[in-house]
């Protein structure tokens, strides 16, 4: 009955559709949710996954890069310690809520129940035609957490959201609202313990009410054969401040999308990314930011360290709406290319429709400074260790800027650990 032109599906696309057929019987949801799921999966069936002809996916040809889709694998998931001890830990294992901490000023609802009673049907709306992550996540979504932080709550301990898996498929969703004047630190951990490949999608929708102050850290440490599809969507109301910090330190095919809008005057977005790339991995960080109202600010700094045959992408789009005067946005992308075969593509995009704004972007590429390397070696530090120190130095200032000692130390450990495993 459909008049949609048929395309020849890839092995991965066929596997996705087969997985859906297999899982749909026990995916949670009322009739509305089920219809929405079917629509999302039908979109994939008729259009396929995005190729480089889709502008938002130009540097990450998902259709060609995603070769296989693993079957569901409900293996045991090892618990992990929180990055910062004392954190309130919420965890998902293979897409199902496993652990829910109790914290004052924080109320939590399971998304599986919201799907069952239909109140979660809104989670099934993709961002647009090119939202492949939203489609996969919505189509396969089992569970997740809606977290509300009360107005004025000042959380002393971080909230850690652990998205864990044992290989196979894992699809997670978080809907987080931070109340007016509240402050919180949220740490999103993405990792697995499976020896078989994983396909992970994880989507978070974040709203900061007036004057809220949030640090959100994503630590992505998937295995070397895993596919990680992340997306965080946020809205900043009046005077809200969001610091979003992403460390990519794993995965074979990684796409992390960040889509935000400033909807209240005086709001500020601070975005920092550290991409540690090695092997034959491909990692894409794509950001779109709308400065929709006057007097909002943002800074974006992306630091990339690329070893081996790894490739990376940063797309940063900043839109300044016609009446968003006095916007101040500054974006920088700095890359350390450490092998002949490493590559990184960066695409800054400024769409400015207001006339009284300050927007800037810059990009640099460099190798390790030979004089620095020689100096460290002349003090007895072997080449491999000396290189690791210099790579760490390249990303250190971005981490230190967090100005939160336990968090800085925890992230330095993640970075150091990755370099010990990958530095050559």
């Amino acid at each position: 009955m459909s008049a949609q032109p048929q395309i020849k599906l890839t092995e991965a696309e066929n596997a996705l559709l087969a997985a859906y057929t297999q899982q749909v019987g026990d995916l949670p949801g009322n009739g509305d949710v089920l219809i929405a799921r079917d629509r999302l999966i039908t979109d994939i069936k008729t259009k396929g996954l995005p190729t480089r002809r889709v502008e938002a996916w130009h540097y990450t040809d998902m259709r060609n890069l995603l070769r296989q889709v693993p079957a569901n694998n409900d293996g045991d998931v090892a618990a992990i310690e929180p990055l910062i001890s004392g954190s309130a830990v919420f965890s998902l294992s293979n897409g199902k809520v496993e652990r829910k901490a109790k914290a004052e000023g924080v109320s939590v609802r399971g998304i599986a129940a919201m799907l069952e009673d239909g109140t979660g049907a809104f989670l099934m709306s993709p961002r647009g035609d090119d939202d492949a992550i939203g489609r996969i996540n919505g189509g396969f979504l089992r569970d997740g957490l809606e977290i509300a932080i009360a107005d004025g709550a000042a959380l002393a301990e971080p909230i850690e959201l652990q998205v864990l898996h044992s290989g196979g498929q894992s699809h997670a969703r978080f809907v987080v609202t931070v109340g007016a004047g509240a402050s919180a630190r949220l740490i999103e951990r993405q990792q697995g313990n499976g020896s078989s490949a994983a396909l992970v999608s994880s989507v978070s929708d974040l709203t900061l009410k007036a004057g809220a102050d949030v640090t959100w850290v994503i630590v992505q440490e998937q295995g070397v054969i895993d596919t990680h599809l992340g997306q965080i969507n946020f809205r900043l109301e009046k005077d809200a401040k969001l610091r979003l910090f992403i460390v990519n330190a794993g995965g074979k095919l990684v796409r992390q999308e960040v889509h935000g809008v400033t909807v209240g005057e005086g709001s500020d977005f601070t975005f920092r990314v550290i991409n540690l790339l090695g092997g034959e991995s491909h990692t894409d960080v794509t950001m779109t930011l709308g400065h929709d109202v006057p007097e909002t600010t943002s800074t974006e700094i992306v630091r990339n360290v690329v070893f081996d045959k790894a490739s990376g992408v940063f797309q940063g789009q900043i839109r300044v709406a016609p009446d968003a005067q006095k916007t101040d946005a500054r974006m920088a992308c700095n890359t350390l290319l450490l092998s002949e075969e490493a590559d990184f593509s960066t695409k800054p995009e400024l769409e400015i429709f207001a006339d009284d704004v300050q927007c800037a972007h810059g990009a640099t590429v460099a190798d390790i400074d030979r004089n620095h390397l020689y100096y460290l070696m002349a003090r007895g530090i072997p080449e491999k260790k000396a290189r690791a120190l210099l790579v760490q130095a390249f990303v250190a200032e971005v981490v230190e800027e967090l100005d939160d000692e336990p968090l800085v130390e925890a992230l330095e450990d993640v970075i150091e650990g990755w370099l010990e495993r990958h530095g050559n």
């Binding site: 004089n371 620095h372 020689y374 100096y375 460290l376 070696m377 002349a378 003090r379 007895g380 530090i381 072997p382 080449e383 260790k385 000396a386 120190l389 210099l390 760490q392 130095a393 390249f394 990303v395 250190a396 200032e397």
Partner: protein, 251 residues
Amino acid sequence: MLEIRNLHARIAEDGTEIIRGLNLTVKAGEVAAIMGPNGSGKSTLSYILSGREDYEVTEGDILYNGESILELDPAERAAKGIFLAFQYPVEIPGVATMQFLKVALNEQRKQRGEAELTTPDFMKRVKDAAAHLKIAPEMLRRPLNVGFSGGEKKRAEILQMALLEPKLCVLDETDSGLDIDALKIVSDGVNALRSPDRAVIVITHYQRLLEHIVPDTVHVLYKGQIIKSGDKSLALELEANGYADVIEAAA
């Protein structure tokens, strides 16, 4: 301890020969001064001893405790006890000075098969050595050499030397950029390290430093060769008469 035999070396990039048949022997316990006019190859010699890859040895050998070190990289040479105090220490943003010191000490110890230092032991050593060199703790909290004054950089070099306890110390124009007080502090630091099992090579333009670090031998380097050797009186003679007489006599 150190024996340089008929050494020839050039700049790797363009093949310019800098060291042209240099012979030099320095014994354990000895302080040897190397003097010479600009462009004679003094700094190049220090870089070659440390193993900088910008230079190629084309002939001859460098023996350290009887073994050739030509095949060793800078880190291996350092672990064997060779230390170069740089004329221009490089600034490395993002590497904290304390972290650098700890890594350097422990990496050398590892290469020698020794146990790593505990943090309290390390801290104590740094504190003691820094106090002797009048280095403020704030300086050690900054990134390595970043924002250090010329004098602070030189003191930081001597601090590293004191902590690493090398056997062969090469000081490349350590006196340049130092005022009298700093020169005294740095010289005292070097003198404190003098010992029967340690050799020091002091590369300098001026007699001034040698009043503080009194050498056992003085060698004149010119056009990549040692053209004259003597005791400390040779330095005084050079100070009084310049290099012209010595160069003429050698020609």
